[in-house]
């Protein structure tokens, strides 16, 4: 009986010592510890991602020939349509090149594009955050925008050696400015992710919509980046305005929801646009001395 009691006391003491030690540890050591943990689990994340790729590969390989023929036919049609579009674009590109030569206008590239596969979704916040299989070793820096095609996926919030965490547009930590399709005056609105409950649907809020903005009839209004904030290039699609802006915010402004244009559940691959010049926001995120 006494032995049991002594044993329990010893374990309480040990726990208290551990907690006190953890609290008293310098923050740098604690951060290092967390980094070490993330790096420790990074190979596992890579393995999960690659396993999924392999599973997809075999799943596709097992499809029947009829299905493949049908898919090939559909692809051919899409290719034909795209080729037509490409021809039109070629003229525009040539004209663009000619004008640049005439005006000697040479715009330096602002971003480096790094393509990355999605390793996993952060289980702590489900589809609000994804982990990609590229990190500091590949030149990715925190704050960089992440896109898929012409669509914004989110922003890099944490970078590790071989992986990075990306907050999706529906994450509460995501915030950016946008233009609404059909607003001739190009007034900026605010996009802010909304914390979803465990079983709820992820969504983002569109705030400060001008009171006199009318939704275009027919197709849903496209919401695009402004390019004014110094993070996202202009004209990228953030999503579409949910039909019917609802309740007013402060009397004069409307609020609505953003329907992300890509299904964020099925992201397989994304591009990280790493700014060539470090932005002030990035410096703040890294805690750099800014004086």
């Amino acid at each position: 009986m006494d032995q049991n009691r002594q044993g329990a006391r010893a374990s309480y003491v040990a726990l208290s010592v551990f907690v006190a030690g953890w609290i008293l540890l310098p923050s740098a050591v604690r951060r290092l510890n967390r980094e070490a943990f993330v790096e420790f689990q990074a190979p596992a994340l890579h393995l999960v991602g690659k396993s999924r790729d392999l599973a997809t590969f075999w799943e596709k390989k097992s499809r029947g020939s009829e299905e493949l023929v049908a898919a090939g036919r559909d692809l051919a049609r899409i290719n034909a349509a795209l080729e037509l579009k490409l021809k039109g674009m070629e003229d525009v590109r040539r004209e663009n090149t000619r004008l640049r030569e005439v005006t000697r206008y040479n715009v330096p590239a602002e971003y480096l594009s790094v393509v990355a596969r999605v390793a996993t979704r952060d289980s702590s916040s489900w589809w609000q955050r994804i982990v990609i299989r590229k990190g500091r070793n590949d030149g990715i820096r925190p704050g960089a925008p992440v896109v898929f095609g012409d669509t914004v996926v989110g922003r890099v919030t944490a970078v590790h050696l071989t992986t990075s965490e990306v907050d999706l547009v529906t994450s509460p930590g995501f915030r950016c400015t946008a233009y609404l399709e059909g607003d001739d005056q190009n007034r900026i609105v605010l996009i802010n992710g909304v914390a979803a409950n465990s079983l709820g649907t992820a969504k983002a809020r569109v705030c400060v919509i001008p009171y006199d903005y009318l939704l275009p009839a027919g197709t849903p209004a496209r919401v695009t980046t402004t390019g004014m904030g110094g993070v996202f290039p202009s004209g990228l699609t953030l999503g579409y305005l949910d039909g019917g802006a609802y309740a007013t915010q402060v009397g004069n402004f409307k609020e609505s929801l953003l329907v992300p244009s890509r299904d964020l559940y099925n992201l397989q691959e994304v591009s990280v646009l790493v700014p060539i010049i470090q932005t002030p926001g990035e410096a703040l995120m890294q805690g750099d001395q800014f004086q």
Partner: protein, 697 residues
Amino acid sequence: MRERADTKVLPSTPVEKLRLYVVFGLFSLGFLYVVGGLAYRQLIQSRDLKEQSDNQSRRIVLRPPARGRIIDRHGFVLVDNRARWSVKADLAALQKEFRSEYLRLLAAERARQAVQVDTERVMELARVNVLQGWLNKVWFVIDENQPKALRKPAPGEATPLVSPGERKVNIEDLRKHLRERRALPFTLVADLAFPVADAPGGADQGVKSVARFIEQFPVEGPIRLESDIIRTYPFGGMAAHVLGYVKDSDDLPPNVDDIAEVRAESMQKLRQTGKTGAAGVELSFNHVLKGLSGWELWTKTSSGYNQTRLKYSEPMQGSEIRLSLDLRIQRTAESALAEIKDTQGVPLPAAAVMLDVQTGEILALASQPTFDPNRLAGRITFAVYDEVEKSGAWLNRATQGLYPPGSTFKIITAIAGMRRKVVDWDDILECGASYRVGDRDFPEHEPVGYGEVDLDKMLAISCNVWNYQIGLRAGPDALAAEARRFGLDTPLLETSSADGNGAAHTELPYAAGRGLVVPDRDYKLRIKAGPWQDGDTANFSIGQGYLLTSPLHMAAFAASLARGETRTVPTIIHDPNRDGRHRGSSPIGLNNAQLEAIRGGMVRCVEEGTGRSARIPGLPIAAKTGTSEYFKNREKAHLAWMIGYAPADRPVVAFCVLVEGQLDTNTWGGKTAGPVVKQMLETWVGTGEKPAAEPAR
């Protein structure tokens, strides 16, 4: 057994029992007292105690509403609201940082000096240091031209877009905030877009600042981005004197009656700073525009910071006001006035008014110089205030400016003469180069005189001598009575309705009414200028001397004349159902031939007389010019006038233009004011071919 007998606990004797009962009784009483007290508190006093507790632990925060829009008669927005993005620091969330900085400063202070340290001062310094650190970060992110925040520009380098003062935490503001509104976030940058609004390309730059903050500043943390509403005037200084401007106000319209379960009247209320009208329609219709405040019910911490929001109600926007102004005509009037400049190229002080003849609705009311109310919408700085003051732009010359009407008054002299039957429309008078009154020759503006002049010719050429003669024949009392009959001494823009407080109401604050003078014998004695002389009558007859009126009064007179009546009640509010009846109005009291002669003379004035510069082919205009004298810096200068109506045969609009000439400018009624009238009328008719609207008969 023995041991058991020693451990006796129950009383055995009656005395012991009695003692025990007394003790029990006392305990019971005490218990009953406690239970009774508790019951009293819980059952009887609970409501009061709960209220007391709520009052101590809760507060109401009032949020200002959006003000109503102001639109012109066609629905164009003249005054609107825009999002103002401000950066605020959550002081409750910064407590740890304050404490840590305080301890650091305290240690440094104690190491530096052994004497007693003023801990209050150190705490204040700690707060300022922490907030300044965050403000530096904000500027670091938003100012793309100064990425190295607070760094002094090198010689030859572009200067910062904002003065360094705007990048410092104002210690006085912080003290006031902690004293009065500790629970609310402290404003670090009041308007992210404002500091650069005046710079070239400033509007875009302002939006960029907002966008940079939104996208680059960390979302989490003690620094918040808040959006509220601020007044915006899309056309800048256009109609600024009519629209007015707003100023900060803590006097929010309360709207907390719907918190049924809370006795809101005894609860602490914190008011976020809102806006109230300070001039123009913004002030006079503040009760319509102001809306209803929103409220939030918060629990508060022991330190006085807000903790949890329990309930809230959104503010309600104020109502919209539709003015009678026509945006197109107003813009034309202002741009035409801006073209009249002195020898230094500075626009001359001037005013222009256009009225709807039938309804009295004001289509344009311009005053120059003007100011941009956008610069006053956020915070009125001394610099901006002084700049407006120095330019003389606070004065609404159309309604508050008081001037001798000069020759435009000759129409009233003629009416007085015909009503007193001292002259008729077809009488011909001999008019020489001057007219002797007493021992003084009153001059004609034509050195050789005009010879034979009738009413029609007098109005066309603006003959002085004709008026000296008729004025003297009718007498000063008749001239004064006629001027009063047309309302030249009656305040305008007053309404019979009352504002929200039941106070008397004018459509424009300080509207035309103060200082108007229609002189007579009593007036001259009252100002101790001696007895009335015939010379005074001669001056009076040509609209000079003591007579003072405003451009709005003269426009209203022109509208009355166009309808053949004595009064027009101008209004700045559009009402499509206005019946066109004017309070206190009566027929002029002239026969058709007399009225026709006046109209004919005014048409000749434009066709071939002094008002030729206003002529528009195809549009008959009836007008009268005037060039009166006034004293500027004790030297004589000229005022250029033109009043009238159009179309002359079926009047729809009446107008008045006044330009204050300077000592070194060549300012004449027709020549200077005529082109302004012409441009306003051209805008009114569209291309100048025909009237834009049928007269409202």
